[in-house]
C-alpha cells in the first residue's frame, strides 16, 4: 500500500488535450522533462509560460467529465504531466485516447464520481493506491474510485507498456499474448 499526498489543481472547466499541449509543441520529442515545460499552457493563461504549470508544484489534477478530450492522440499530454510531477489525475471520466496513453505510461488516471465538485485548487489530497480511496485533507471529504483493472496495474508495476513488452520479449513469452 502506498499513500501519495500532495496539492491538487482543480479544473473549473473542461480540459482539452488540445490545450494541454498547444500546437507549437505537438512536434516536440516525447520526453517528460521537455514536455513538462509547456504542459497545460493552453488550459489557463497563468500556465502559459515556461514551466508555468510545473512550478506550481501540484501532485494531483482533479477534473470533471472527459478529461483530456478534444481528440488528440499524442502522448505528450501524459508525459508532460509526468514531467511536471503529477502523480495521479482524478476525474469523472476520461477521453479514451489519453486514458490509453496514461495506461501505457503507468500514470494513474482514476475515475471518481463528482470529486471535482468537492475539491478546490490548493487542497491537500491523500490517495491510497491500494484501496482507491481519495481523501481531501483540507475539507475532510472522502471519495471512492473505480478499481484499476488488473492489466492496468500490471503495466504500471512494469514501469509502462514498453518495459512490459521488453520483459515479454526477453523471456520469450511475447508470442503468448493474445
Amino acid at each position: 500500500m502506498a499513500i501519495i499526498r500532495g496539492k491538487a489543481w482543480v479544473a473549473k472547466t473542461y480540459v482539452m488535450s488540445f490545450d494541454m499541449i498547444i500546437q507549437k509543441y505537438w512536434t516536440s520529442p516525447i520526453d517528460p522533462e521537455e514536455n513538462s515545460k509547456w504542459v497545460m499552457a493552453g488550459v489557463d493563461e497563468a500556465f502559459n509560460k515556461e514551466n508555468g504549470f510545473k512550478n506550481m508544484g501540484y501532485t494531483f489534477i482533479v477534473a470533471g467529465h472527459n478529461f483530456a478530450g478534444g481528440g488528440k492522440s499524442i502522448e505528450h499530454c501524459v508525459t508532460g504531466l509526468i514531467g511536471a510531477g503529477i502523480k495521479a489525475v482524478f476525474a469523472t471520466s476520461f477521453a479514451r485516447l489519453q486514458f490509453r496513453n496514461a495506461i501505457n505510461y503507468g500514470m494513474p488516471f482514476i475515475t471518481s464520481k463528482d470529486i471535482n465538485l468537492e475539491c478546490e485548487t490548493g487542497d491537500e489530497l491523500a490517495y491510497n493506491n491500494e484501496t482507491g480511496e481519495i481523501k481531501n485533507l483540507t475539507n475532510g471529504k472522502i471519495f471512492s474510485s473505480v478499481p484499476v483493472a488488473p492489466f492496468v496495474a500490471e503495466v504500471a508495476a512494469s514501469g509502462g507498456l514498453m518495459n512490459f513488452i521488453r520483459a515479454k520479449i526477453a523471456d520469450g513469452s511475447i508470442a503468448n499474448l493474445h
Binding site: 481528440g71 479514451r96 492489466f151
Partner: protein, 422 residues
C-alpha cells in the same frame, strides 16, 4: 454467442471464438500507420525494443501529411530526418511529397485497411477505417512501436452502440450533416466515450464510401473508440482494385447486444452547422442564414474527397465566389487531386475563384496552407472548431458540409444549399 461486428473483429483477430465487452485482448493488427511528425519517434521507440526487424514491412505504412510541403526550415529538417529513417527500412509504402495524401485517405484509398481486420495509426482520425468494415483506431507512439515489432496491440473490447439510419437523403444533404446532427444529438465526447459506434440501415447502405468515411472519421470527435459500417457490395467494388490482402464479408449478428440503439430518419436531417468553439453546438443551417464569413475551407480527412469537390463544382459551376471570401480547397490525396482535375471539378472551382492547394492536412491542423488569423470567420468542412484549431485563438470556425461551404461562398454569408436549384 451473438456478437456485434466490432466484437467479432476483436475475437477473430485475437484467436478467439468470442469476446465480451470489457474483456482485454491482444489482437493481431493488419496494418500500422504513422506519419511525418511522430514517425521518427515511432521508429526510435521500436528500435528501443531491441530489434530492427519490423513485423511486416508491407504493413507498416508511412505518410507525410501534416508538414508537407514544409512551411518552415525546422519542419523541412524534421521531414528530412523522417525520410532518412523510413528509407533505412526500405519500406514499400511510403507516401511522401509528390505521392502524398492525408494518411487516413491513403489507408483506405490504397487498400491498406480491410473489412474484418484491425488497423491502427498515430493520428486521432484513424477511426475513418471503419468505412470499409475495419476496426480503425488511433494510438500513441508506444502502441505503434510495439505493433511495429510484434504485430500486436491491446484493446479493451468496447460496448457497441447502434445508429440505425432510415429514410431518404434530401438533396444537398451530405454524410457530414448527419455526423454533425448526431454530434448535436449526443453531445461532444458525451456518453459515447469508449463505445464502438455502428452505423447501419438503408440510409447508410445508400451512402458511397466517401460518405461512409466522413461518418466514421468523426466518431472520434464523438468520443467513441471506433466507428464502423459493415462491408457490402459497394465496399467490395471500391476495394477490389486496390486491396492489399484478402477479406471476407462480416456483419453483426441479428441478436447481438448493444449498449444503446438510436434511430435517426435522415429525411428529417437538413444541412447542419456547428457553431464556433464547440463541436456539439450544432444547428440547422436555416438558423444561421445570413451570417457573414471571410474564409472558406474544404479539405481534410473528413471532407477532402472527389465526391466532396464534385458537389461543390455542381454548385459553383459558372458562379463566382464572393469578393470578400478567400476559399482554399485541398484534396485529401494526390489521387483525389488527379481525379478532380480529370473530371473538371478543379477547373470549375478555380474559375469560380477558389485557391487549390496540394494535398496535406493543411490549416485543419493549424500548421500551414492558410491558417486563420485574428478576427477571421472561417466556414470550414473540417472536423474540429475549438479555439485556435486553425491558427489564431481569435478566429471563429463554423463547421459544415462542402455543399454549404460552396453555396455560402457565392453570397459571402451562410446559405442553405437547398435554397436554389443549382
Amino acid at each position: 454467442m451473438a456478437m456485434t461486428i466490432t466484437e467479432k473483429i476483436m475475437a477473430f483477430n485475437s484467436g478467439r471464438d468470442s469476446v465480451v465487452p470489457g474483456q482485454l485482448v491482444w489482437v493481431d493488427v493488419h496494418s500500422v500507420m504513422t506519419m511525418d511528425y511522430l514517425g521518427k519517434q515511432c521508429f526510435k521507440a521500436f528500435e528501443s525494443l531491441g530489434s530492427k526487424k519490423l513485423f511486416d514491412k508491407e504493413r507498416v505504412i508511412c505518410v507525410s501529411d501534416h508538414l508537407v510541403p514544409p512551411p518552415t526550415p525546422e519542419y523541412a529538417t524534421m521531414l528530412n530526418e523522417w525520410r532518412e529513417i523510413v528509407k533505412s527500412y526500405d519500406l514499400p509504402y511510403f507516401y511522401d511529397l509528390g505521392r502524398q495524401g492525408i494518411a487516413h485517405q491513403l489507408m483506405v484509398e490504397q487498400g491498406h485497411v480491410l473489412p474484418g481486420k484491425i488497423s491502427i495509426g498515430t493520428d486521432s482520425h484513424a477511426n475513418t477505417y471503419g468505412a470499409v468494415g475495419a476496426v480503425g483506431n488511433a494510438i500513441g507512439v508506444t502502441d505503434a512501436a510495439i505493433a511495429m515489432a510484434t504485430g500486436k496491440c491491446w484493446f479493451r473490447v468496447p460496448e457497441s452502440v447502434k445508429f440505425h439510419i432510415t429514410g431518404t437523403w434530401q438533396p444537398w444533404v451530405m454524410a457530414k450533416d448527419l455526423s454533425l446532427h448526431i454530434m448535436g444529438m449526443m453531445h461532444w465526447n458525451g456518453h459515447l466515450i469508449y463505445k464502438a459506434l455502428e452505423y447501419c440501415g438503408p440510409a447508410i447502405e445508400a451512402l458511397d464510401i466517401a460518405g461512409r468515411m466522413t461518418l466514421c472519421n468523426m466518431t472520434v470527435d464523438l468520443g467513441a473508440k471506433n466507428g464502423i459500417i459493415a462491408p457490402d457490395a459497394k465496399t467490395a467494388t471500391y476495394l477490389n482494385p486496390v486491396q492489399k490482402g484478402n477479406w471476407e464479408m462480416i456483419n453483426s449478428d441479428a441478436d447481438a447486444k448493444y449498449d444503446a440503439v438510436y434511430e435517426v430518419d435522415v429525411s428529417n436531417v437538413g444541412p447542419t452547422v456547428s457553431k464556433p468553439d464547440k463541436l456539439d453546438d450544432t444547428v440547422p443551417v436555416e438558423q444561421l442564414v445570413g451570417t457573414k464569413f471571410n474564409k472558406a475551407f474544404v479539405g481534410t480527412c473528413t471532407n477532402g474527397r472527389t465526391e466532396d469537390f464534385a458537389i461543390m463544382a455542381k454548385i459553383l459551376e459558372g458562379k463566382k465566389i464572393h469578393r470578400d471570401v478567400n476559399m482554399i480547397c485541398i484534396p485529401a490525396s494526390q489521387q483525389v487531386y488527379l481525379e478532380c482535375i480529370q473530371k473538371g471539378y478543379f477547373e470549375t472551382l478555380v474559375k469560380a475563384g477558389a485557391a487549390v492547394e496540394t494535398s496535406s492536412c493543411g490549416p485543419c491542423a493549424g500548421i500551414h496552407t492558410g491558417v486563420a488569423g485574428d478576427g477571421d470567420i472561417v466556414l470550414s468542412a473540417g472536423n474540429r472548431n475549438m479555439k485556435g484549431r486553425m491558427g489564431s485563438k481569435n478566429a471563429q470556425i463554423y463547421l459544415t458540409s462542402p455543399a454549404v461551404v460552396a453555396a455560402s461562398a457565392i453570397k459571402g454569408e451562410i446559405t442553405d444549399p437547398r435554397s436554389e436549384n443549382w
